[in-house]
């Protein structure tokens, strides 16, 4: 705040202040608070929901890296995913989120079949970058760091992923049919089908078309998030998107989520 000196003022100015002091002595308030018609809209904002118009699928790896796209992936009963489908899904993904984006409960429990990133490329952590022809074999060097966060309350690890990251207590099984969508896959698979044709290093989540997500459904009374199911994962990633890119269109539902985060901010 720039505080201007008021000492050098004209006589009229001083007289106006005297007049206001007399009003003050008569009990007239000296501060007026504007009551914008905001309460109802804020609550309506909290009630907002958004529709995911077409089928949306999310692939998550053991490091919490996530890909969103509309491709399908074959899955065995054991939860293992067909590697060629995984490759194709990753290559055609509409959104890619860096490691640590998907919260722990959405990641595969373990990765016993090995991650074939040196084969598939394009993952931070292992192998060369498929998309980087000049590959330097420096795994981390070829991996773009997470963008800076503008929001000071963002915690990089542990609580990562929940929308806005301020509630900090979410829970969930990753497979909550009540909230729509379904979580597929499980961490440990067998290798009976041999080779790298199938992998247990990913979990695959599907959200069917025209699914309505009401973020407030995942919010507890004390303002913390309880994210579960495919829809919960979607919200977690939307929160990541918001942290990185802001409300810059591009990600369905982001405005709705922002309204809720703003609401929480003002509480």
């Amino acid at each position: 705040m720039v505080v201007a000196k008021l000492q050098e003022k004209d006589k009229g100015f001083l007289e106006r202040r005297r007049h206001l002091l007399r009003l003050g002595a008569a009990g007239v308030p000296m501060v007026l608070t504007l009551k914008a018609s905001a309460t109802e809209p804020v609550h309506s904002a909290l009630d907002c929901a958004f529709v995911i118009p077409s089928a949306t699928n999310i692939l998550v790896d053991v490091d919490g890296k996530a890909w969103i796209g509309d491709g399908d992936i074959q899955e065995k009963n054991s939860g293992e995913l067909k590697t060629s489908d995984v490759t194709s899904f990753k290559q055609n993904a509409e959104f890619v989120f860096p490691s640590g984006s998907a919260p722990d409960q959405f990641r595969p429990d373990e990765c016993s079949t090995g991650d074939d990133d040196d084969y598939w490329g394009n993952d931070c952590g292992w192998g060369n970058d498929y998309d980087e022809p000049t590959g330097d074999n420096d795994d981390q060097g070829s991996c773009q760091a997470d963008p800076d966060r503008n929001t000071p309350w963002f915690e990089e690890e542990g609580e990562d992923g929940e929308p806005g990251n301020r509630g900090n207590s979410y829970s969930g099984s990753g497979n909550d049919y009540q909230h729509g969508g379904k979580g597929k896959g499980k961490g440990k698979g067998d290798d009976d089908d041999g080779g790298s044709a199938w992998t247990d290093c990913y979990k695959f989540y599907q959200i069917s078309s025209n699914t309505t997500i009401s973020p407030a459904d995942y919010l507890s009374g004390n303002g913390s998030w309880n994210l579960s199911g495919a829809n919960g994962l979607y919200l977690a990633l939307a929160g990541k998107y918001l942290d990185t890119y802001g409300n810059d269109g591009g990600f369905p539902g982001i405005s709705c989520l922002l309204s809720i985060l703003n609401y929480l901010e003002y509480q």
Partner: protein
Amino acid sequence: MKNVALSDLPPETVKRLLSEGRLYLHLGPYVTALSTKDAGVREFLTDMYQDCSILVGEEALVDFSLEVRAPNLVRRYIRRQIVADPGFYFPAVPLPVKLGPLCLEMGMNLCVALQSFRQAIFHAGVVSDQKGGIVIAARSGGGKSTLTAALMEEGFRLLSDEFAILCAETSFLLAYPRPVSLKNQSIDVVRVFAGADQVSDRLTGTPKGDIAYRRLRKSDLETANLPAKAKLILFPRFQAEAAPAVEKMDIADAAMQLIASSPNYQVIGEPAFHALMQMLDGVEAYEITYGNTEDSLMLVKDLWEAVDG
């Protein structure tokens, strides 16, 4: 995705897209996914919004999703009713199905008022010319829409009849041209000066009396990407038989009234404060009292002539 005029789409395509919720109406800063199976709403939309841009493609990134539908299955067939569903709960009485167009318009207003999180919204009409913008603040019975429609006939371009949409970054007003909502006597007034063909059929028995819409102009749509810098804020007051009068307002009073009219000022927060303050630094505000449209036009023209370009 590509843009086409609504009138360029075959009727069966419009019908299909609407029934699938994939008619993406691109107006000013917003894309709205519209959904309805109601023939009356569809007819109104294809008529009044015929020159509007539609995003055509499998899916679009949208700001709002709005469905105009029956409140429940029974009311789809028996004593048919219709509601606007913007995707969040908002208390609203279902209307008879013949008022579908009103539902559509109210629903679109609701979306902008309560789901815009990048622009500060104030309840006002906005017109502009090369000098800048005139904000016509809403007051009950003040005649905002009639004055807005009258100024359109005087060569001003329409930015919005319902909302002053203030860009938080630039403090410029954004255009969101929609059909101008006219109530009761103002319907005939606008029919006279704009031409009967420029006004929609009258909807009778609405909660606000009779309502009709002044048709969108192609020129306003073509310039909808041009923002305007506010130069003048008017607070109109219609009083039958009143002599025309102008009173200069303190800008602080204008600011107070605008903030009070905003559905999202508090949600946007500090950027809205900055944008509003910056906008108000360059404007003058007046309360104008008038008894007929001619007088209001005369007053506004005089005030506008005095404004620096």
